[in-house]
């Protein structure tokens, strides 16, 4: 930094920035706070910021009423499963494109990206019918498969941009040292790319966790992940603000924390390396 800003100016900026930050964050804060209120106080007017009786009853109630953890577990299996399968398919593909680029590489990359732009609703009907006819509707396998395909282009792209930063000479050195292709990828490339692979994994778990088109349309009670489970609270069968908040808090907390950790890679991943 060339100059230190004056303290007064810094104080003013601090005030404004914190105000903006807290305003943007407020709905999340309010949801978490409400989840600890007794149901009656959750809808009390004026809203209670501190003068309420802290309770954990909503959390136990959510689990008892709807078998919350089943849906939580569905979310984990679907998001992590689809990401891991995506990585297994994408690592070799990204290796090819990053280290043995040919004339077609660019086109393949662009084409992969273009599949991502296929609007989901355009293929909703056939996927739905295929799922119904194969008996996979409302199964976790189906969602793992669909989300793998949805996120595969992003995984390939992210890995590609990370792999490209690894000097090809190191892989050539491994080849000279007698490493087979398998050892080259397993012992040299993968360990070197661990930070990149980890952030790819994180970002894709986040995207899959929050995916709310396929999960809503292809699942029912059995395999519904949290996105679909929470949506069931929209039916106006009474106002359960506190329970809704408890369910929401549990649904977003793990991913919010993961997201905060991966914020640096987020930009790069979501812009396909166009902004670093």
């Amino acid at each position: 930094m060339a100059r230190a800003a004056s303290t007064r100016r810094k104080a003013a900026t601090t005030l404004i920035a914190w105000t903006v930050g807290l305003l943007i964050f407020f709905p999340i804060f309010w949801t978490v706070l409400t989840s600890f209120k007794p149901e009656a106080q959750a809808i009390a007017m004026p809203p209670r910021l501190w003068n309420f009786d802290w309770t954990l009853e909503n959390y136990t109630a959510v689990q008892e009423r709807s078998n919350y953890f089943r849906h939580f577990w569905n979310s984990v299996i679907i998001s992590v499963g689809s990401t891991l399968i995506g990585l297994i398919i994408a690592i070799p593909a990204a290796w090819s494109m990053a280290f043995v680029p040919g004339r077609g590489t660019r086109n393949i990359l662009m084409w992969m990206l273009s599949t991502k732009m296929l609007p989901a609703v355009g293929v909703l009907v056939p996927i739905y019918l295929l799922a119904r006819d194969t008996g996979l509707l409302d199964s976790r396998i189906l969602l793992v498969g669909v989300l793998t395909m949805i996120n595969l282009p992003i995984i390939v792209w992210m890995l590609y941009t990370y792999f490209r930063e690894i000097p090809g000479e190191i892989l050539e050195a491994a080849r000279m040292d007698g490493a087979t292709l398998r050892s080259e990828i397993l012992y040299v490339l993968t360990p070197m790319a661990v930070p990149g692979i980890a952030s790819t994994l994180l970002l894709n778990v986040i995207l899959a966790w929050n995916e709310a088109f396929w999960t809503l349309n292809l699942t029912a009670a059995r395999s519904a992940p949290l996105t679909a489970f929470i949506a069931s609270y929209s039916s106006p069968e009474g106002l359960f603000y506190a329970k809704l908040s408890a369910a929401s808090t549990m649904a977003i907390a793990p991913i919010l924390i993961l997201g905060w950790f991966s914020q640096k890679q987020l930009v790069r991943g979501l812009t396909f390396g166009a902004v670093k």
Partner: protein
Amino acid sequence: MGRIMLENVTKRFGDVEVIPPLDLDINDGEFVVFVGPSGCGKSTLLRLIAGLEDTSGGRILIDGKDATDLAPAKRGLAMVFQSYALYPHMSVRKNIAFPMRMAGIPQDEQNRRIEAAAKALNLTAYLDRRPGQLSGGQRQRVAIGRAIVREPSAFLFDEPLSNLDAALRVGMRLEISELHNRLKTTMVYVTHDQVEAMTMADKIVVLQAGRIEQVGSPMELYKAPKNLFVAGFIGSPKMNLLTGAVAAQHGAATIGVRPEHIHVSPTGGAWKGRVGVSEHLGSDTFFYVEDTGLAETITVRAGGDLELYHGDTVWLTPDPARIHRFDDQGLRIA
């Protein structure tokens, strides 16, 4: 054993022929340096020998066996890369062990070779560090260590010193030369630096645009450059190349005189001129002499104690026995 023969080897990238048909013979135990300006194909040639690129034609023989289509690892060669290409996630020990691990050499044999290499290269204290914690020179030695333990039939070096600072470069140059004297293994070394070529090589291969301009010992190249390119490339400062009337006097299109073969006198000689820039190094002095009546500025190398400065009048006399003559094709006239 490490005899490498290239027969009619060519390389094309698409329609571009980077290496026209080329023959070369590298004898066992020889230190051969490929030298040339950037883009002359010297690195490509090395990578062809290593097997990191396919040849577009011709054959590569290693110890008499056809290795043209052999995978890099099967050729029994070890390579030291420009960026060292150390595995950043492995300790120095594991880096050096990697090729042996790939070859399935028993653990105690691995350890023995690692210890020996570390001792020879002064790396014993660093064996458990990661490459990121080492200096440039140390990384270089690790890369060499990784090459040595394979006991290859030949070492390939791809501009290994270009990432080091000037002082370290001189030191590493000596170490590599000593290594060669000790191991007596074939070494093929690529550089764009003619000083490295002159100081290290048994045999220099001067390349330009994928073609071999001349092959010979350093002194052969220095004393009898085959053509203008080699004449200008080998030697520092560069040979003075003069055309026109002076050249015609010697029955040539161009004549060349090395700066160290011109006698400087403040009192009298063949060509009278004025000192433009003078560089006093202490041991030597370089004068760039203008207004000699010749088209070119003449570079002269003189003793360190000759005190002439900008604007002084000097007389230059070339050593007639060491004038190189070239015809209008740029080829040496014997």
